[in-house]
Amino acid sequence: MSAERAERRRAWAAVAPALVWTCAFFVVPFAIMAAMSLWQRQGREVVRVWDLSNYHAFFSKPHLVGALWNSLEITLAVTAISVALAYPLAWIIAELVPRRFQRLALMLAVLPFWTSYVVRSYAWTLVLAKNGVLNQVLLGMGAIAEPLEISATRTATVIGFVHFFVMLLTLTIYANLLQLPPNYRRAAADLGAGPLRVFWHITLPLTLPGVMVGAFLTFVLCIGDYITPQILGGNSELVLPQVIMLQLGRGADLPMAAALSIVLMAVVTLAWLGCARWLRLERA
């Protein structure tokens, strides 16, 4: 009995630092931010009056609501395209590449991961610039007559994002494919299923939960990212994180930034709820 109590006390002592840390630097700041979203900026001061005027302002200003829609559109497109591109690659690495080269193939597929995130977006500006590599190669080949105007557009943002998330998703989907016990596929083949039907009836349904986790991760990281749209997207169609960062610039409006952050948080939470329900349904 006392041994059990001692064990429990040790466990509490071990968990306590992380709990305190998380509360002090995550929960409390979040609460403060939530509180601040209800305050107001007046001149250069933050006044602690409690109302929903920041949220009201958000929904009544088209450029703010528009930023939310831009964010959602870009994020959904990026998630769909990335999954569609990464799944076949992961499948090829797991199924067609010989075992001993799989690790190498995977490392190569995620090698650009190790460039700095900021630098990667910058590198895409080099590729997509009006007189950049892509345009010059295409013009040289005679594939196009006029240089493509991709630079500083939504397309550039999507390309930059897709590049990053294809690598991430290839990694997670490959791990999912590997975890699949080979006997399921063998059993299906044994019962007469050809390669395509094995994939459709066995591999795809069994990896779908993992793919959903990857897609959710993509959604969360993409919708909260500031760098890629800021470097690649130009100033015509701002996304939510860019609008948040604008509030911190000249004449900082911290309450408004906090309110926009809470909106962003709410979107992610909704996505999480949707995903969680979907995953649970799949398991039942």
Partner: protein, 259 residues
């Protein structure tokens, strides 16, 4: 059909590898550019931009800052995460699930929001931005990661190994230091390595929580203000080279341990 599938598959893989490598190849190629713009035509090779990077005091200082922040914040994150994982995996505590949820909660929140929350809070409590606040921010985002990795590696069979150690007279700190931690060393090292790379590459928190001393991504960000510039290519290539070297060393160490 059966003959077409591999051809199509390899073609697809090749195209996607091309897409994945395109920006890195362009980045590295034009870091050797002799001219003033990192766009075609390529008229190199030249190392002049690398010598500029080498001579840039601010960049070099930022590199040192980044290393220090990455190492220290990752150390804190691993220590917190490992202890918490050990406590929650071992003792059957009341509210284990809730505590797990709390500790892993920062994983589901955008870095931008974590950084903003910390910035507002530090602001209100009069703590000025510095490398320490950046380190705190990075430890906040990496603790749940370290916790998850360590927690996943704690199996039931290790409970009995720890009991055996206690049974043979080991004190609690000895159990932890001589049995549990060495047993979980692969997970601990993996968690530390991952934290270091995340911190090393993190921009938005570092941007929001620092002022005079900055980390490398923030310094590179300010380089970008000068537009397309081969010096940025050179700096980016150096970062890439360092990261790849670290990954390769880690890979070799892991392979050695397994062998």
């Amino acid at each position: 059909m059966n003959r077409l599938l591999p051809v199509a598959a390899w073609g697809y893989a090749l195209a996607l590898y091309g897409f994945i490598f395109l920006p890195v190849a362009v980045l590295v190629l034009f870091s050797f550019q002799d001219g003033r713009l990192p766009i075609p035509p390529f008229d190199g090779p030249s190392l002049k931009w690398y010598s500029q990077v080498w001579g840039d005091r601010k960049l070099m200082a930022a590199l040192g800052n980044s290393l220090a922040v990455a190492m220290l914040s990752s150390g804190v994150a691993v220590a917190l995460g490992f202890l918490a994982a050990w406590g929650l995996a071992r003792g059957r505590l009341w509210g284990t699930r809730a505590m797990q949820g709390l500790i892993t909660a920062p994983l589901t929140v955008s870095y931008l929001l974590i950084g903003l929350g910390l910035m507002i809070s530090f602001n209100l409590s009069g703590i000025g931005p510095s490398l320490v606040t950046v380190g705190i921010g990075h430890a906040v985002i990496n603790t749940p990661l370290c916790f998850a990795i360590c927690f996943a590696s704690m199996g039931d069979h290790q409970v009995n190994i720890e009991r055996a150690a206690r049974d043979l007279g080991a004190r609690e700190w000895q159990v932890l230091g001589l049995v549990t931690a060495p047993m979980l060393m692969p997970a601990i090292l993996a968690a530390f390595a991952l934290s270091v790379t995340f911190s090393w590459d993190e921009f938005i928190i570092a941007f929001l929580l620092s002022r005079f001393d900055v980390t490398l991504p923030v310094e590179i960000w300010s380089l970008l203000r000068s537009g397309l510039n081969p010096k940025t290519n050179a700096a980016g290539s150096v970062v890439f080279l360092i990261s790849v070297a670290v990954v390769l060393v880690a890979e070799i160490v892991v392979a050695r341990r397994r062998a």
